[in-house]
């Protein structure tokens, strides 16, 4: 924003204009965030509401807890699997949809609308197909292929099912961005390479894919954020953390510890760690974008 730009002058008006947004940000973001930080240093008796200062004990307990690390690693594995599968399939589809073919618009609409499907609905849909008692696919797996399909008992089955449901939901989002990215690659560049004799695979990997890198990077961050933090509804609908606590991802654990087990201090410490994680990802994202802009 250069200083030469024309600007309105008024002593009070701009404050009145930002006031609603600032009030909301402070009451529903900064205040809770501050409370979370504060609470993470206390031990609260859930019935009397008495607070005892315990310093970093909540954090120390968390880091010493194998359950927490287990939850952390399953969340990371989950996020990575979702990101890889949802991004690669979406990119492949977007490349096909970007070719000048008949019914282009139909294909695009059909692949974009699932953006509107909620994460919970996606969980319910996949639960219904794979429910060991009523699911059609579960039936085929059990009776045609002889699989012992009980995802509430087998971790690998639960993990695969959750990944399928979560990636399915994320396809449309990635598709929209990859398609927009592909459309902004100059055609002349690709044609020039074709004239120089580059095959379609070479054209893709040497020209198109590098030019997509801002989109890919953006999606990488967004998919990781989605996989880590926004898949609660799927876990809640399908496995509820089972078998045992093995699929209890971080957000699920925050919820369970806070709401079900009423360990407010521990839950607050977990929230603080999650917030720090997201902020690091945001800063990382913007550092990269800034560099891209200056180049």
């Amino acid at each position: 924003m250069s200083s030469k730009q024309y600007e309105f002058k008024s002593p009070i008006l701009p404050y009145l204009l930002v006031l609603p947004q600032m009030v909301i940000v402070f009451i529903f973001f900064f205040w809770p965030a501050a409370q979370a930080i504060l609470q993470s240093f206390y031990l609260q008796d859930p019935f009397g509401g008495r607070m005892i200062f315990v310093g970093f004990q909540n954090y120390a307990k968390l880091f010493a807890d194998p359950d927490y690390w287990q939850s952390f690693s399953v969340s990371a594995a989950f996020a990575v699997c979702i990101t890889v599968s949802a991004m690669s399939i979406a990119l492949f589809l977007a490349v096909q949809a970007n070719k000048k073919i008949r019914m282009e618009t139909f294909y695009k609409t059909m692949l974009i609308w699932p953006y509107a499907v909620s994460t919970l609905v996606s969980g319910v849909i996949w639960l219904f197909m794979f429910n060991p008692n009523v699911g059609v696919i579960a039936y085929v797996l059990k009776h045609r292929f002889g699989v012992d399909w009980q995802y509430l008992l087998h971790f690998d089955q639960a993990f695969i099912l959750l990944t399928l449901a979560a990636s399915w939901k994320q396809l449309a989002y990635n598709f929209v961005f990859f398609l927009a990215g592909l459309q902004s690659v100059p055609e002349t560049l690709v044609e020039a390479a074709a004239i120089d004799g580059a095959g379609s695979a070479t054209r893709f990997w040497k020209i198109i894919f590098p030019m997509l890198s801002p989109t890919t990077f953006y999606l990488l961050v967004m998919n990781l954020v989605y996989g880590f933090f926004e898949t609660f509804p799927i876990v809640h609908a399908i496995t509820q953390g089972a078998p045992g606590k093995s699929t209890g991802i971080l957000v699920y654990k925050v919820w369970r510890d806070g709401v079900i087990n009423l360990d407010l201090g521990g839950s607050a410490a977990q929230s603080v760690i999650l917030m720090v994680l997201v902020i690091v990802l945001t800063v990382f994202q913007f550092r990269f974008l800034e560099r891209r802009v200056t180049y």
Partner: protein
């Protein structure tokens, strides 16, 4: 690229149809289930063709709900609608005002305001649920529409989209309106907002879907059935042993819950795609 063989021309079609199949197939199962009786679904495998109970099931879902949860879809749909509209419209109004101030005014705390809003950009509610829950309960907003809506208005995406758009508007327009004697608010109302129609439409689609699809937050703060949103209703219908679940009603509800946001996306696809790819980059 001139002489593509027939198989190479067909290839993208085959792949895209496969993609569509992956997306539509699971939803077909849901639809089929919503046209049968519970007994037929429980006698696995359920039939793969639609059955004769479509109207009966949807009528029951819409007007009565399941036996274990007496809230009909109509009520929950009203709640989801209030929440989605409240979030999308509220966010658009609040963000337009804030972006207007940040772009068109110079004031001492501008940088501070900008950064306090910016920091909330990517922070999903999921990571701050417990503390936000406490604030809402301290404010006495559990089981209320205000409690469902206000904390969801926090994130800064809309402020950023509008800010970017405002920055692309030539300042001469603002200056000219001043010379003509218009106040800043008249400029905002008569010139700026009408110019911003397309980004506003895009933001509406994105926020409507975001609001409609909220799950964890309503799960936490609605304990009274009359405040359940559709997604919470689905969760309640699906809790309990497999044999007790009225699958046909739950699946009908699931389809009904998908419908409004899908219609919004299909009708406003162009604005939505443009808006989405612009906000984020």
């Amino acid at each position: 690229m001139k002489e593509l063989s027939k198989s190479r021309r067909l290839f993208p079609h085959i792949i895209l149809w496969l993609g569509i199949l992956i997306i539509v197939f699971p939803i077909y199962f849901i639809f089929v289930a919503s046209t049968h009786t519970s007994a037929e679904i429980l006698a696995a495998p359920m039939p793969l063709n639609p059955g004769p109970h479509l109207f009966e099931n949807y009528r029951r879902a819409l007007l009565e709900g399941t036996k274990n949860m007496g809230v009909p879809v109509i009520t929950m749909m009203k709640n989801s609608l209030i929440m989605a509209l409240g979030i999308s419209i509220g966010k658009i109004i609040v963000s337009l005002l804030a972006a207007f101030a940040i772009v068109f005014f110079r004031f001492p705390l501008r940088g501070f305001c900008f950064w306090s809003i910016f920091i909330t950009l990517m922070l999903p509610v999921e990571v701050r649920i417990m503390p936000t829950y406490k604030v809402i309960s301290d404010l006495g907003m559990l089981n209320s529409y205000a409690g469902l809506i206000l904390p969801m208005i926090v994130s800064a995406t809309a402020v950023f989209l509008f800010r970017q758009f405002f920055m692309s508007i030539p300042r001469e327009i603002a200056e000219a309106s001043q010379i003509d004697g218009a106040t800043p608010m008249e400029f905002f109302r008569d010139i700026l907002v009408p110019m911003t129609r397309t980004p506003i439409a895009a933001m509406f689609v994105i926020q409507f879907i975001y609001g409609w699809n909220q799950y964890l937050w309503p799960l936490l703060i609605t304990t009274k059935p009359e405040f359940y949103t559709l997604l919470i209703g689905i969760n309640r219908m699906m809790s309990g042993a497999d044999v007790q679940i009225e699958w046909q009603i739950a699946m009908a509800t699931t389809l009904l819950a998908m419908l409004p946001p899908v219609v919004v996306v299909i009708l406003m696809q162009k604005q939505f795609v443009a808006g989405m790819t612009e906000t984020e980059k």
